[in-house]
Symmetry: C2
Subunit: 245 residues, 2 copies
């Protein structure tokens, strides 16, 4: 196992940071590394809002469901899927652009994911810790207003960055056999592998909480999917110009 | 700049590979590294189909728009957004699951992007080259049938992997200032920065083609957005159980 693969396998979300700031030239280098990720047809459909305003940070922490580290981490970046920049450019070149296609949402969301993951890995390689904040989609309209996001741009997730002040355990993952198939999808073997994973997760939760948290992967997912997950997203995306045609 | 950031900044899509196979234990390690990426609420909503069947490879190369390297590369992986595994698990735990939420599409698509990018970086760190194949969304229904994808699973992109038999130049990216904003999105400065980037891209295309390809970023985007991008995606996703409620 080389050092890069070792780094990737060592990922943990960090939610407690020291006060040490991130040097501006390092931050810039992280963004540049992010931009070097693959991008569909070179559209480069991701924009990043670096939030330095303490008032906006505090508000974002609330909007994300009361996650204090959003306000207190050294840097907080909001990764936005941006179909405005490439389609505006195409329009200036005389194209009769159709916006709001479902495919455009996918392209911009994937571009954003790849870029952000490069930023995350670059950050971790420099000794920083990170945490993705999907919670900004709890209140995407308010987040978009706060950051002045125009139509055809939507906030996919945030990312906390900073020097870690905690060293949490690595959270287990499903067995490789449960996610990797050869030539065709095989649902038949999933249940047994998930059961095996549930046992590992149960041990993990018990060990971490001194026996208090007696749950597993499957039981953790049940409440998550028992309610309609962020049911406002469809309407929000539509208003933001992603009509999903 | 550390070696990991250097690796990230050195990314090029590779479309020509040597015959050298990828060792099974390395491939497994790449997938494991992929799984270690962050995942929204630990749902782990990505499954990977490793396509080894030569007939399926050939068919996928055609379905992706005649990309021969899909058939000839050492390994071809199809990364699928998989909401079936976590929602099935939640159902077994007694949850009354609502599927087809727009948010679920986003969660699974982002999870897939983060995992794939980890696989890509792990691969490049081991001396492999990779190329994302978004072209499988040209014919997503046929791809899904070929790989036996059940409802609530959709193919986001493929990835060619192998030892490189070419050494293409790094493709330039937009200036950092065009993608990174502080506290709010600023569309006003975009046009000038894009113009500056167009000049750089024009030089890049001219140099690469001995003066034959006289174009730039903006002019390349115009035809891409002049037609409706993969207009079948909405209906395909709906049939696949992603109703986008």
């Amino acid at each position: 196992m080389n050092q890069v693969i070792e780094l990737l396998k060592n990922h943990r979300s960090i939610r407690k940071f020291s006060d040490r700031p991130i040097a501006p030239e390092l931050l810039r280098s992280l963004i540049e590394a992010g931009q070097c990720a693959a991008t569909s047809s070179h559209v480069q459909a991701c924009s990043v809002i670096r939030v330095t305003d303490p008032g906006k940070r505090k508000k974002l922490a609330e909007l994300a469901g009361g996650q204090d580290y959003v306000a207190s981490c050294a840097e907080f970046l909001v990764f936005c899927a941006d179909m405005k920049r490439p389609t505006d450019a195409a329009e200036r070149a005389g194209a009769d652009v159709t916006r709001g296609m479902t495919e455009q949402l996918l392209v911009a969301t994937v571009d954003t994911g790849l870029m952000a993951q490069n930023v995350a890995i670059a950050a971790e390689s420099a000794g920083l810790g990170i945490c993705y904040i999907g919670g900004i989609r709890n209140n995407p309209t308010e987040v978009s207003q706060l950051l002045g996001l125009p139509t055809h741009v939507y906030p996919v997730f945030g990312m906390c960055l900073g020097y870690p002040a905690q060293n949490p355990e690595i959270k287990p993952r499903l067995p490789v056999e449960a996610v990797l198939y050869e030539n065709e999808y095989d649902a038949s073997r999933q249940q047994a592998l998930v059961q095996q994973f549930d046992e590992a997760m149960n041990e993990y939760y018990l060990a971490r909480t001194g026996g208090k948290k007696d749950t597993d992967w499957t039981r953790q997912l049940a409440p998550l999917f028992s309610h309609k997950l962020r049911p406002h997203m469809r309407e929000f995306l539509k208003k933001q110009g992603f009509e999903l045609k």
